[in-house]
Amino acid sequence: MKPVSVRTRLLLAFWVVLLLCVLAPVSYFHRQLHQVLMDESRARIRQNLTFVLWALTSHEPFQWLSDLDDWCTQVGSLLGIRITYIAQGGRVVADSDVPYDKLGFMEDHWNRPEVAAARREGFGFSVRRSDTLRKELLYGAMPVSGITNLPDGVVRIAMPVSQIKEKLDQQRLHLAVILGLSFAATGVLSFFLSRLMEKPLAPMLEMVRAMGRRERPRLRPSGYPVLDALGETLVDVAQRIETQFKSMEDQRAQLHAILEGMKEGVLLLDGQGRITAANRAALHIQRGTQSPLGLKPLEVFLNAELQKACDRVLAGQDSVHLEVVLDPDRFFDVHVVSLHSPVVPRGAVIVLHDITELKRLARIRRDFVANVSHELRTPLTAVKGYAETLLESPCAQDEEAKMFIETIVRKANHMSRMVNDLLTLTRLESQPPQIPETAVDAVSAIASAVETCLPEARKKNMEIQTLLPDRPLWVRAERDSLVQVFQNLLDNAVRYSRPNTPIRIRAEVREETILFAVEDEGPGIPSEHQARVFERFYRVDRQRETSTGSTGLGLAICRHIVQNMGGRIWVESPVRGKDRGSAFLFTVKQAAEPEEKKSAES
């Protein structure tokens, strides 16, 4: 709908007011006046009629009907009225305004409204326009009967409506003219008024337009305090918006610079999974050189796993972390994070971190350690072998020489253990984590580990208590690895605890996993070290580095084995419910009892 202009609204308002103010009272008074006039006319005509009737009855009998007509003409001209005598049946017998010889041509008057009313009620009255005289007339009629020589019938008189009535009617015309003139005048008035109102708004409009074009708004005083205040507020708001806009643009530029400067590829996905933004690094990672905007990750990177991760996040998952290989042989650490804020519809952010170099370095380190360990093994075997031979030979007769040789053997053994541990660790690291399918009885694994550690424990007079159920605990593991985990943990417990204290092994069956714990009553591990004890060669107490004879790799090996089996290992110190000691806990996935065992039992 087209908006109505101020001018038109103003004009319409004026007109409505004008109509209400003029027409309502005028029509009211007009009606009142008309009523009074009519009442008065009615009374006058009745008086006249009564007089005519009296004159008619008191007149000597008319010889001829033409005498009646003459009489009517005389009386009519004296009174200034028209008198008509209508005989029963409607024939006009006499009429003051019509010559006697023409009466025969007059039409039937019996059903004229005033005549009909007179016959019914004794007096009839009406206001009509006479066709004969072409003006408004008042008509009054009364029935007559019993006059000598005259037929019964109705006498009717007609007189013009008073002058006032005519004036009144004229006034309607004047009123219309006046109304028309006032309408025209208000039209002009409203035009100027609207101009007057719009004029101060024009500079404000110009100012707001300038604001829209992001120019500096200039406020010109309009002379109206309200409008000036509005203008000032507008300028203030505009400046604040401008400031915010600037800071947003700055932030945007900063963010853009950060994103572009990043080494990681960053891509933004919309709710449909299409790329809406990508930084420069992402453009280098993608295949080809075309813009990836509007495409899906699968089309850009041709990697099904990445696409599936994005789909999962778009379907509602909070974040997915995965490692993908994009061509050719480049490894990426990928984070896909869901994006949902009230402003932005659901989407996702992909961050691609190139870890090819990291992987390469890790492999070089692993290879290096493996190679060095391997290279050390051969000379070590020779050292050990010769030292042991020397120990048996006569050279060892000398106490001092024997002590030296024994030290060589002990240290060579220690070194060989370390080399073996290093090799184990490298092997574990290079293996991809894969949860074994084989079911192993943890109870028997613990038993064999305890058996190995028992001699050392006895030396320190320590008791190894196994608080386990007397049924097999089936876990998904490789037997040798599991035994090694228990053995390493027991070794540590024996090594670091005080003599004469017990070591406990507990097991707790959970929903899908079994939790094992190896607890001792030693000095415990301070909390700041707890997170790091699983690192290789990390020691809590630097002083005791050499005295304990450990390789410093046991816990690192444990962690790798447990993680490769899909479990978790951690330390609690002091032991729950006690003030000292440490507990090493780890979880392993439960396994179903193997079929052959079941059948063997049955």
Binding site: G288, L298, E299, V300, L302, N303, Q307, V325
Partner: protein, 219 residues
Amino acid sequence: MKSHFIRQMEELRMTVLEMAALTEKAMHKALQAFKTRDEKLAAQVIAEDHVVNQLEMKIDNLCLSLLALEQPVAKDLRFIIGALRMSIDLERIADQAVNIAQRAQFLAQRPPLEFIPELDALAETAMDMLRVAIDSFARQNISQAYDVCQMDDEADELNDKVLRRMIDLMVTESRSIERAVQAIIAARCLERVADQTTNIAESVIFIVQGVNIKHRCEP
């Protein structure tokens, strides 16, 4: 709201791309296994082949239901036909990858053969062709597709060279005949991969331009 048809077409496109990505990966791994004599990797390629086969069946079903229920026309129709052809080619390439992986497994158990630069170049060419062909489909890029067609001759030539070199080797040293034959089969597989990759490029051209350039390799 997208119509059912558009969504299904999108799914078809994504499935073909997924299949292409997996096939490329399988091929890459197979060649890696061949080069580094990695039996485990070769076994992995053989074990993962069924995923590609399943995707081929999924594409078959999708195309069939789209053709039967939607009566597509013009480019949509070409896309469906093209996708159908591509899925067949991709599945065969994945089979070739399995074949190469099997050769790799066999050769890994034998003493290494002397380095064959032509075989290496052939592998690289085939891999490049496959990569470019898949890219051309992903981005609907015609010029890349034509590039693939041009590269096919190179692959054929390299295959011949490998064959000649292996024959020479077999003539001079009878002990390596078994291994040389395996290498020839691998080269043959790669040559087939190059051919099928050319078919994929032709399908892409068919989809985008609506012209069939089979056996001509020019517009």
